[in-house]
Symmetry: C2
Subunit: 229 residues, 2 copies
Amino acid sequence: MSRPPPIVCTVDVVLLTLRDDALHVALLERDRDPFKGALALPGGYIHAQEDRSAVDAALRMLREKTGVAGPYLEQLATFAGPERDPRGWSVSIAYVALVAAASLRPAEDDGRIAVRPVQRLAGLPFDHKSIVDAAVARVRSKSQYSSLPAHLCGDAFTLPQLQAVYEAVLGEPINKVSFRRKVQELGMLEPIEGGLEVGRANRPAQLYRLRRAFRRSLSVLERGLGSRG
Amino acid sequence: MSRPPPIVCTVDVVLLTLRDDALHVALLERDRDPFKGALALPGGYIHAQEDRSAVDAALRMLREKTGVAGPYLEQLATFAGPERDPRGWSVSIAYVALVAAASLRPAEDDGRIAVRPVQRLAGLPFDHKSIVDAAVARVRSKSQYSSLPAHLCGDAFTLPQLQAVYEAVLGEPINKVSFRRKVQELGMLEPIEGGLEVGRANRPAQLYRLRRAFRRSLSVLERGLGSRG
DNA sequence: ACAATAGTGTCTGTTAGACACTATGCC
DNA sequence: GGCATAGTGTCTAACAGACACTATTGT
């Protein structure tokens, strides 16, 4: 009765990025059974000796398996039950991480990860499809009223670029004036002095970056973009 | 490397109710070490043989330890780390449950539970204070744009009563007209035919109940009550 | 000059809150 | 009738979206 039951406890990370105006998820080929050889979410056992927290474990998975360091990261939900893993009752603490597309290139070129669109995902082992779906839903929902999509951009970006990211995530066009009002209200950006996008045959756009305070956290609005989604 | 680490895996429930216009949490006296005798959240080990999921485990805790059956229940977050439990690295999947105050009376009268205001909580063992704080924050946040507070009411209630519940949870007065517009928009209520609140020296109020579809789920608005929180 | 996109000013429809009014019970 | 609270009509201020205009680059 007072002896802990034999429950497997893991952390899985849904690492999302934007490519070709569509959300993509980073997957790894499993190197052991069950589902050896299948593409699955980066994840693994918590190391009680090493990890100081669950977030810590998630960051370790990302670092070791995908080379990604210091991304935006938040806990998604915990998936648990006797059916989700053929080895028996298991618990997976799932996290969502967002990175700029460029951050995934090295690991992808090395063949260490595969990047797949979140639509048309099939054949994922365990309940990883459900976990990805939950992550995408969370990201879409939070994008309506927070600075979250900015974490899909690189270090410097223009407002039109940021708007395109919001539109890709939300899946609908946004009014330019409203968008800029909201970004102003969010107050998470600072202009880069003298930084302009160059090389195109039009008026260059001002470059911005995330303010230090919002590099790994969010700015949130009372009322979001008025999407009727 | 492939052997699961010795991690304790538990479920804890923050069972909230409204009393005297203030959120209260249900606590149990711990009957064993660590923290024997202290008031703590209802919780315990997942029973791999018995529980079909984490929600299932949470419902079992509630039923066995507080007598509460069929409340509104949602996953809150998972708290994990080496410090939160003196026995070592532990994982607690935390849930929030809401019930009408009357539902707690039997267990409270039997001395099986203690009901305490969520403000002025002190001396909780483990990281239970943090868990309660997170639960309260979640409830307040979600109350701004959903039918969640209705689960703190009994089976039948009037709109003025429901508004008082929202105001107690949100901690600020709400405009009557706006409130009724939002409730209408949420569409989670149905009037009880011929049901009127009686016995008071004024015009009686119409009684409502939650529509069947919303008995254990939420109705959500695009834009919430315009609180400037 | 022209093409193309960045960025802004302004108008209008929608929505939320204030206020006041009517409705209906008990005494 | 008077009191108290339920429930509604309506005005106004705030806000979001549409539109059009100006700004600034490369060619």
